[in-house]
Symmetry: C2
């Protein structure tokens, strides 16, 4: 028997989920509970992969939709157990993202004959290094389980659809000089002074804001680290500025690298990390009808999310969850109960309207 | 009996000194040898203070001159024992500054009736933190032993008189911003970008080169360290540039601090360290006659040296030693034998010419 009661209302279910502490790498119990709650449902094929639980319908529908949510949270911050406060539920994970997980479980239990086949992914370790990410591990061990026409990640988005996501690239931009005693500085070349030109260019940068599939993105080019210096009496011979480029999904990682290298022409540049963006892909029927079912606006996603993993597999994906993204990872995280109801109703409408 | 033979020629004496390893904090043996060599000389009052040896004449002359040299060296670098190579003696300490110490010992032994009273200071731990410096310790324990009308430090100066020295000031110049996720950088303020203006000002800096007592100094204003950054996906909210100002001795530490604070108007500045410069003071008779005896040019000293300690006591002081200052602290340090002879001859002439 599971401690999770799928026949209870969604808020009760969410409260039960929050009260099972599941900081990254400690997801065994919550995965056990989710698995035990889903196993009795005859319309779902349930499988377990580490602490990731997969539940699929196999109704022979013409389209398949993935609905995904991670089970882990960031570390405790004196914010458990859950506390109900009028129309607000407070506590670790209420926003990021057990609100979404509760909606997923409720839909899984109460929509036995959806108009599209469904794959529910309850996955582990989203909040830590990518090597542990349950979606990443599943894409390595069982890539067929990720196959779909469309994917909905129930990450916090304030119950608004967020399409695509921007890519990110980290580059080290380095200046060189010549060491000298700082008492005879005219005998050397100060590498930190040379970095002034790098910062001047960054200050003159104008962000590109392309519109893609009707969504306006907003790029960014920012120094996120700077280091230089040998000793208090030595002219430094090297200075490195780490620059983070956030690029709209109409650019590939390679194009982003070329852009940054050109931007810093005359300086040494080394790309140290990058991840691709994801195009919204909202022209596919499964995506279009989801937008229609939810109604209202669609926003671009500026930060990088697991949406990009699906995009890399050729699957359009969006974020759509009840939490407020600005509350994620804060001690005060909470979720507004009406947002839970809105998300659940939208998903239910999308999956039950006749096709 | 000492291993040092004051009756030998100066080069032999220097070779003996070099072969007594005396890296800072390991000066006991060399101090013992110097003390033992000087004790038999009837015209000198010898006293010992830690590993610093003081030897003074008391002839009732109207002027007193300090001749000072440190006994320690920087760490070994596979450069012992001393090696004679034609007109060059190679090895740790040959340049910085046992060449000067050998001249001091030879003069102490062979000029029993100098025209001015002499105070020879053979001192410990010049190459490490100021708290261990033998001159500093002596100024605390026996300040009367430093009293003089003029001081000659036999630091490497290529047998040219170097007058005065520049002061040094370290200041942290800080910019503040507002953190934000680097994917939404327009919601924050990048403190590293703001530091561009600090580097722009440094790049536009024009060094002051005042002429003082006939010597042309050369100031410098240099970033010696820069730090900023929180994480690869966060707009940094603070960036600090450590700036080193080397200032000519016509400015006090307080004036130097005001200059730098004004230079960086609009930014937070905190002075974290400073040391005063030293005016050449070459108008005193004892100094003037030394310049006349050596002949030739007098250069300014750009770096900070123990000359400033005497200046702080109101005693004009110069550097004058046989080593090439560019070789100090290098593995290849050496001294040209003719420079040893020149320095010894100049000192001898200065101290023996009738007054």
């Amino acid at each position: 028997m599971s401690d999770l009661d799928l026949s209870a209302d969604t808020i009760t279910l969410l409260t039960q989920l929050v009260d099972i502490e599941s900081v990254s790498k400690n997801e065994q119990r919550i995965a056990d509970e989710v698995e035990a709650a889903l196993r009795p449902l005859a319309h779902l094929e349930v499988s377990r992969h580490g602490n990731t639980v997969v539940a699929r319908t196999a109704l022979g529908r013409s389209e398949r939709v993935v609905v995904a949510g991670h089970l882990d949270t960031v570390p405790l911050n004196d914010n458990l157990p859950a506390k109900l406060d009028g129309e607000v539920l407070r506590g670790l994970g209420t926003c990021d993202m057990k609100g979404g997980v509760a909606v997923m479980l409720k839909i899984a239990a109460t929509v036995p004959e959806p108009n599209r086949d469904l794959t529910f992914l309850f996955y582990e370790s989203e909040e830590i290094e990518a090597d542990f990410n349950g979606l990443h591990l599943l894409s390595q061990s069982n890539p067929e389980l990720l196959g779909a026409d469309f994917a909905i990640l129930m990450e916090p988005s304030d119950a608004v659809i967020e399409g695509g996501c921007q890519g990110t690239l980290q580059v080290n931009v380095t200046t060189r000089g010549e060491r000298a005693h700082s008492a005879r500085s005219w005998k050397g070349v100060n590498a930190i002074h040379r970095a002034g030109e790098i910062l001047d260019r960054l200050n003159a940068y104008e962000a590109r804001m392309p519109v893609i599939d009707g969504l306006e993105y907003h790029e960014g080019l920012n120094a996120v680290n700077i280091t230089g210096g040998v000793a208090g009496n030595v002219l430094p011979d090297v200075c490195t500025v780490q620059v983070n480029y956030r690029f709209a999904p109409d650019r590939s990682e390679a194009e982003a690298a070329v852009y940054v290298t050109d931007f810093f022409t005359g300086f040494e540049t080394v790309v140290i990390d990058s991840a691709p963006g994801a195009l919204p892909g909202l022209d596919r029927p499964a995506a279009k009808e989801f937008v229609a079912a939810v109604g209202g606006e669609v926003n671009p996603k500026f930060g990088w999310t697991d949406v990009a993993r699906f995009s890399a597999l050729g699957i359009p994906a969006v974020n759509f969850g009840p939490g407020d993204p600005n509350l994620a990872h804060t001690r005060e995280e909470h979720v507004l109960l009406p947002r839970i109801a809105e998300c659940e109703a939208a998903l239910r409408a999308y999956l039950t309207r006749p096709r």
